[in-house]
């Protein structure tokens, strides 16, 4: 590590060269001028790209002037390229915004595009002041019996970041192909995609460690020791991780499933290493529930074998209407409501004789459990309108009071 620090410290020796200082000073001055100019009221009214193009033009002009005077200009050129690239990244983001949802674009931008560009810029700058090939072979320590170099660490981090961020699209693509070949539902495809993604990441990490040349026996020994630590220290995290994997294999909770959480239907959005993220329609809330919870509590799901849900609406009708015709009317009404499945057919039932009315229940099936409230509401509206048309009375609760006579004293 000390060798690396010494090497990095050596880069500052270039600051003793007039040619380097003129370039750096010029670039700093132009950026300062550009930033100050962008704060002027007239500039703030103009489009932002106008100021950016202005800075690039100034840097280009400065490069040309240095070249004309046979002075070194490469650093200014590299700086202009990197700044131009950063602006270009903004344009790319803008373009992608037309095709990708905002959340995915944000994830792609902050998780992949920006880190990769910053990494690229870092390598470009290091390439200017040092020889990357010789810098990469500087040893920074011995881990698990292997000497690890700067290049290996850099490559490992790059591979791991790319694995975590970049493995998602190919794994979803492969899962989609497998779904087409083998059949299966959307939630199964999502679970498969997650499994493929984890497999890619796990294989990538093992490959990376292998490339570095870690001693496998030493890793196993350390992993054995760590497992004891895991048992005491971060057992909850580990337990949640294992629970997540188990749930995926078992298929009892998969992304896209609808679960009943505290009386509300919620859709499983993602099943992560530690927790599952569920979306609750009622208030558009996202619930983060540790995976372990699904192991220790009863879970009600509407998507275990199919996505159908049987739901019901209760209504009362006055005593003087024939229950048979009321039941027929209820069933006909339900059949005409969008979202109510015709098979299995809606079914009307007489539940009992109440104080004020005969109580009926209309049971029907819907295809999307998340639409239970809205479809039930539509059915209730349709029932009221049907009763209105047919002159069926929905009675108010009635109480008949009888005044008793008091006995003479």
């Amino acid at each position: 590590m000390s060798e690396l620090l010494t090497q990095i410290g050596g880069w500052f020796g270039y600051l003793g060269r007039p040619g380097v200082l003129v370039q750096l000073g010029g670039v700093a001055a132009l950026i300062t001028v550009s930033l100050l100019a962008s704060r002027l009221p007239t500039a703030q009214a103009a489009r932002p790209w106008f100021g950016r193009l202005g800075l690039l033009a100034l840097l280009g002009l400065f490069t040309a002037v240095l070249a004309a005077f046979s002075m070194p200009y490469g650093l200014v050129g590299v700086t202009a390229l990197l700044i131009g690239g950063w602006f270009g990244l903004g344009l790319l983001r803008h373009g992608l915004g037309r095709w990708l949802p905002a959340a995915e674009l944000r994830q792609l931008d902050s998780g992949l595009l920006r880190p990769l560009y910053l990494l690229f810029a870092l390598v470009m700058l290091i390439r200017e002041v040092d020889a990357p090939a010789s810098l990469a072979v500087i040893p920074i320590g011995t881990w698990f019996g292997s000497t690890v170099t700067v290049g290996q660490v850099f490559l490992s981090l790059l591979v791991i970041v790319l694995l975590f961020v970049g493995s998602r699209p190919p794994s979803h693509g492969l899962a989609w192909i497998l779904q087409r070949l083998l059949g299966g539902g959307d939630s199964g495809r999502r679970a498969l995609a997650l499994l493929i993604q984890y497999s890619i990441i796990a294989t990538g990490i093992v490959w990376t460690l292998d490339q570095i040349g870690f001693n496998r026996t030493a890793i196993l020994a350390v992993a054995g020791g760590l497992s004891v630590g895991l048992g005491f220290g971060i057992k909850e995290v580990f337990s949640n991780f294992i629970s997540g994997l188990w749930l995926l294999f078992e298929g009892s909770v998969r992304p896209g499933d609808i679960l009943y959480i505290e009386g509300d239907p919620c859709e499983v959005r993602s099943l992560g290493l530690r927790a599952a993220v569920l979306w609750r329609d009622r208030d558009n809330a996202e619930l983060v529930i540790p995976n372990q919870t699904f192991f220790t509590t009863t879970t009600t799901t509407y998507t275990g074998t199919d996505r159908l849900r049987r739901t019901q609406v209760q209504v009362g009708a006055a005593y003087h209407h024939d229950p048979a015709s009321v039941v027929d009317l209820l069933e006909d009404t339900a059949r005409g409501v969008p979202g109510v499945l015709s098979d299995p057919p809606p079914r009307g039932l007489v539940l009992g004789y109440g104080d004020s009315a005969i109580n009926y229940e209309l049971r029907f099936w819907i295809a999307n459990p998340m639409q239970n409230v809205s479809i039930s509401s539509a059915v209730r509206r349709a029932v009221w309108q049907a009763f209105q048309r047919q002159g069926i009375e929905i009675p108010f609760p009635q109480h008949v009071l009888h005044r008793g006579r008091s006995l003479p004293q």
């Binding site: 060798e3 090497q7 050596g10 500052f12 020796g13 270039y14 600051l15 003793g16 060269r17 007039p18 040619g19 380097v20 200082l21 003129v22 370039q23 750096l24 000073g25 700093a28 001055a29 950026i31 300062t32 930033l35 100050l36 704060r39 002075m71 070194p72 200009y73 490469g74 650093l75 050129g77 590299v78 200017e128 002041v129 040092d130 020889a131 090939a133 010789s134 072979v137 500087i138 040893p139 000497t147 170099t149």
Partner: protein
């Protein structure tokens, strides 16, 4: 701090540095403490750049830095290693950026190319450093009568590297080499005129090459020697266990993976081979032939000056180069690295210190004996690819021995480029 304030502070912070960096030091004044010199070294190919090579080169540079610190403290040497093929491109790019190394340690041909492209400075001749060199070296580094393109600092002789576990005694004649191959020993040569030049002396063809090149008539005797040289190469190639590989092939890897037991190598290959083979690596002079001693070409490593140095860096670099040619420093550097031999005329060759060093010195003496003749062929070094094309065509049977001989003679007779 706001972004623009940071930028302004950076610009202002640099101002004091700008103020004092352009002034040259008065003569005789040493550079102040904290002068950093960037030293670029070109190595064979990218696969050679590993931790072992870096630490070996760094160790040698640090040893030079420590020695130099005794007389001029405060000069730090920063090592930059480049693949030799990329050295020119890197120097072009860095010179454009103002970040070119202050010193380049490279083979003479590379140093000359750097100078021809205007990437290194001309050095006035004579100068205090050149006064310490053997006079025979000067023509190899000269641009014209008053300038050098670089300053030679050491020799890297060509010799034989072999695996002592499988070959206890290396062949000292070409006949012994053929006999050893018939007994099952495997040998590797490069199909490259520079690498095969040693066989010209052993097989008596060197005089023919130099005489024809000098404009003397291509007599039957001279042409016959060249023909016999080619026939020997053909005979060797027909041996099952002697391989002539392409100019870009890596013989060292063949020695390490057991494909070869004996290869031709440079003294600088030791670092890579030693790391793998340890004491099993053997070094020996190249074998002599019935018609004479081998005529290997020793590579001259030279210091070339980059163009972007500040006045302090320039002065420190010149002083360091002069210091590196001091006889005691040359001797110490030879004994430490054991890959470079001294070029200083006053530096004694320490042959008794190890068998490997003795092999290096013998190889260098063989090279020195042939140097007067080889130097006459130096003008053809830009045509090495043309020579190699003829050798490769002959090797693969596209040219017969008479056609190849004729092509070589024609090339030797052609005017200098």
């Amino acid at each position: 701090m706001k972004g623009w304030l940071r930028a302004a502070a950076l610009a202002l912070g640099l101002a004091p540095l700008v103020a004092g960096c352009g002034r040259a030091l008065p003569p005789g004044v040493s550079p102040r403490a904290g002068t950093t010199l960037y030293v670029a070294i070109g190595v064979g190919d990218a696969t050679r750049i590993d931790s072992t090579l870096r630490s070996a080169l760094r160790e040698r540079l640090e040893a030079l830095e420590r020695l130099y610190a005794d007389v001029r403290p405060g000069v730090n040497l920063e090592l930059l290693i480049f693949e030799e093929e990329r050295l020119l491109a890197e120097m072009r790019r860095r010179t454009r950026s103002g970040l070119a190394p202050d010193l380049v340690l490279a083979e003479g041909s590379v140093a000359e190319q750097l100078h021809q492209e205007g990437l290194t400075r001309s050095i006035p001749f004579p100068n205090p450093a050149s006064d310490q060199l053997s006079p025979s070296l000067i023509p190899f580094a000269q641009v014209d009568a008053r300038h050098l393109f670089a300053v030679p600092v050491g020799y890297e002789p060509q010799l034989a590297c072999f695996d002592r576990r499988r070959m206890p005694q290396p062949p000292d004649t070409l006949q012994a080499l053929l006999e050893a191959s018939s007994r099952g020993q495997t040998f590797g040569f490069k199909l490259d005129l520079g690498d095969l030049a040693w066989t010209l002396g052993s097989l008596g063809a060197l005089e023919s090459f130099t005489a024809i090149r000098a404009g003397n008539p291509a007599t039957e005797e001279r042409v016959s020697r060249i023909r016999q040289w080619l026939l020997w190469l053909q005979t060797a190639n027909l041996q099952q266990r002697i391989s002539l590989v392409g100019p870009r092939a890596n013989l060292s890897d063949g020695l390490l993976d057991g494909t070869f037991v004996w290869i031709t190598c440079r003294s600088s290959d030791q670092t890579h081979l030693q790391a793998q083979l340890g004491d099993d690596l053997g070094l020996a002079p190249l074998p002599a032939g019935a018609r004479g001693q081998p005529s290997p070409i020793s590579v001259q490593l030279m210091w070339a000056y980059g163009r972007n140095s500040s006045a302090r860096q320039r002065q420190a670099a010149e002083q360091l180069v002069r210091f590196s040619l001091n006889p005691p420093v040359q001797r110490i550097m030879t004994l430490r690295g054991r890959t470079l031999l001294p070029v200083s005329r006053e530096a004694p060759l320490p042959v008794a210190s190890s068998a490997r060093l003795a092999a290096l010195v013998t190889a260098e003496r063989q090279s020195e004996q042939a140097r007067s003749q080889i130097s006459r062929l130096m003008v053809l070094r830009h045509r090495e690819d043309d020579f190699n094309r003829i050798l490769i065509a002959f090797h693969y049977g596209n040219l017969g021995v008479d056609e190849a001989t004729e092509a070589l003679v024609r090339l030797l007779q052609s005017p200098s480029p």
